[in-house]
Subunit: 264 residues, 4 copies
């Protein structure tokens, strides 16, 4: 079985400009996450990284076509991700590329586009302890995960989290202040699978926490598509009695739906 | 109890240019739908209409602020709906305005934006008989609806319908050719409720069918928000121990989430 | 519109034998709950009560046939509820009677029968503060409910709560110790609607808390069936092309499904 | 990786008494299903069979403890399955044993117990053609399955299918007569995973259909638990601040929940 090709995408801005963050993550959050996935998946995965300031943010058509699962962490520069790259990533997710969105990535262009909502929440950065509880013990992403995960210091995220109802709710977190949050959720979009996992923040060493990295690795493994080819859903006409030969159309007059073929 | 303020939006293009459509719907599909809602809801609703060619498509800020539920039918001119109006409608739905999307509206800008997927499907216009079966008999939208609804001639819509998993699946349709379709689905987005119902096409008199109009009326009634005010979810910071006083912030450096207040 | 006929069922054992409980609930938890529903629903409801020690636990065929929504609180004597009465209540719920299950009712015969799981959880009675957070703001049961509800002293219930995935998750609670719990859930079973709400315990004055009673009242209102008659789903044979005349059968040999008609 | 240990359970009554059935399935439906799973899973599975008339229906404690996934087909003799064996199977499913329920198994004691509903439906045995359509293309059970599966002759099953809302809806079927049915559904119960798949009937050679057998094999593979040990959820008390040491209790008076430990 071919290894999972994972791309860990990180904004890599805080690490450049905030000494406190650079101290926790000397080579960037993205490399801490990469090492975590490599640790837990071993030979099952091949992991690369890219950052915001790479050309095309490191997410060219060629790169995405060769990526099974993309992980995303962004925070202060969501607006700097080019719309063209967001469209490209969106198309690949709908075509079957897995996506794991982390923490403040809830407000990324790609996640809000896939969700259709504001994806807002309530927050506080005041050293809350976070406890991550498993509510779906049968889920592969929960395999081997302690109940609960104890994270001594974290940024609080609290409900209401303005997302569509998750397809699957795997984890719920609590914080010292008493807030709760649906911290581990899955969504299907087109032919792609998406996992959102909230623990993690540039001001805390959460991406060195073995259980957090274990969940991310499980999520990467889960998000791989088992379809042989990448294809985005398209609109096709089918004659009566013919289930397997679809016809594309353009124009909606004369009783025909406008048909647009999606370029891959 | 104040009547539900309903706005029936119709593209109103086919009716202008195709005599066969004008024959079925002399004053437009939107007026047929309006009469259906008025028939089934009576004094419980006040219904107005607007079309694509009205200024701002008839969907000004003032109109939307005074609309409890918007119904949407479009087909050949989805691309002509201005992005600015789509943003406005999107914001109102997330704030609590109900939305009922009909038939080819599956491919409207507003529906695809709320779903995050392509919303494509398979289709055929060849006089299939459609049977609409109820799979959730407890749902208010299914109240008083025959099991099944028989629609003698209809455009076929078939799976796969590229939508997110519906929050609730109320109706499933079959067609003469054997195709099936999740024809009645609900979605929550932000503080708003959305009902998608597929039967209906400009080439068939489906919007004169009493059971179809009954479902649409039930859907309108269901989609009304029971929150007293329209408000879009926003991102706020909360101090430890204070659950009711949120603070907005700008800028994500110095350990703070960028806080944007949404203008209503 | 006819008032909702509500039956509040209480075990009424703790109140008899534990002075500390009798002090908090001098005329029983069931009467506190009854008064709460009457307060919030006013003329919209007519509320009666029954207890374990009534003949047939107060749940005769006649009583159930005249009950729109049954609320259930039990704890120490689940095993004393007769199987015959449980069967009767089960049949009525599947036929359309609403059911609101409260707190330790999670382990009642009727709830475990409807769920098919153990319905176990983790717990502690040590004066935790409970915060009840709303995660589905569009839900009618959440109407008018503070975010969060603050309950100063409560018994802790924590995940994993061994229930099927709720149809709708409305509330999530946190406790002083850091545990979380899916505290407000809905389930559809047959033609009936079920709402489970966890806050409440014989050792704490939770059933005097206005917000808790408000949720229970909202839940009662939501659980009412809008079907005109009570009928349990049954298995019927339908000839090709006939959608409306089902035939009952007995015996599964000779290509026929065994058909059992359910007596109402 | 250790092979999946599959037990294919068949009622094996029709095959004994109806020559038409014996002709289609000379060594029983259970062996046709077994061969199908062996074909599609190869070395990944070790498959055995058992029937109703075996001692304890072939489902002793020892057998179940050594079974990863149980498949179930029954029809005319659901009532002859002993309650004691049903309890045992139920406990194992809640503990992590996978369950695949086939066709008329919808009315088995074990399935109705896990669902909590009547599990009734509408039916007809008149050589309908069945088309099985995929509605969740990302699901592992849908891997490699044609869209649609064409089954030339089948017993019709139609909505309303009185089950709880499935956790996941994978397949929807249509029939010549126009009926629809949610033919492929998953449910989680406790630590176990359940897949219900409707195509198949003793009067039709459906269990020789390669696509049907492929789905069953995919379902078996999906239903395997990835937890290392079989354990049924139990109710435990946890002290404040201690998340990992639960205490069992008996008796609900004096502020303690009655704690029952489930024997495995």
């Amino acid at each position: 079985m071919r290894p999972i090709r994972v791309m860990v995408w990180g904004e890599n801005r805080h690490e450049q400009v905030e000494p406190s963050v650079a101290k926790i993550y000397p080579d960037g959050m993205h490399n801490a996450i990469r090492r975590g996935i490599e640790h837990w998946l071993g030979e099952k995965a091949v992991v690369t990284t890219a950052t915001l300031d790479d050309p095309e943010h490191g997410l060219t058509e060629e790169v995405l076509a060769g990526t099974d699962v993309l992980t995303w962490w962004g925070h202060t520069a969501h607006g700097e991700v080019s719309d063209e790259v967001v469209e490209r990533v969106h198309r690949h997710v709908l075509s079957g590329m897995g996506l794991v969105v982390l923490h403040s990535g809830h407000w990324s262009k790609i996640f809000t586009k896939l969700m259709g909502t504001t994806c807002t929440l309530r927050w506080r950065s005041a050293n809350d302890r976070e406890l991550v509880w498993t509510v779906d013990p049968t889920h592969p992403i929960a395999r081997g995960i302690p109940h609960p995960i104890e994270i001594p210091a974290q940024e609080m995220y609290g409900e209401q989290f303005d997302i569509p109802t998750p397809d699957e709710l795997i984890f719920i977190s609590s914080f010292t202040g008493g807030e709760v949050f649906r911290s581990g959720c899955t969504f299907r979009r087109g032919n792609g699978k998406i996992f959102y996992f909230s623990p993690g923040d540039q001001d805390y060493p959460v991406y060195h926490h073995p259980d957090v990295l274990h969940v991310i690795a499980n999520g990467v493994e889960w998000a791989v598509s088992d379809r042989p080819e990448r294809e985005v859903p398209i609109l096709l006409r089918y004659d009566m009695g013919d289930f397997f030969n679809g016809h594309g159309y353009r124009g909606a007059m004369h009783n025909k739906e406008s048909g647009e073929e999606s370029a891959e």
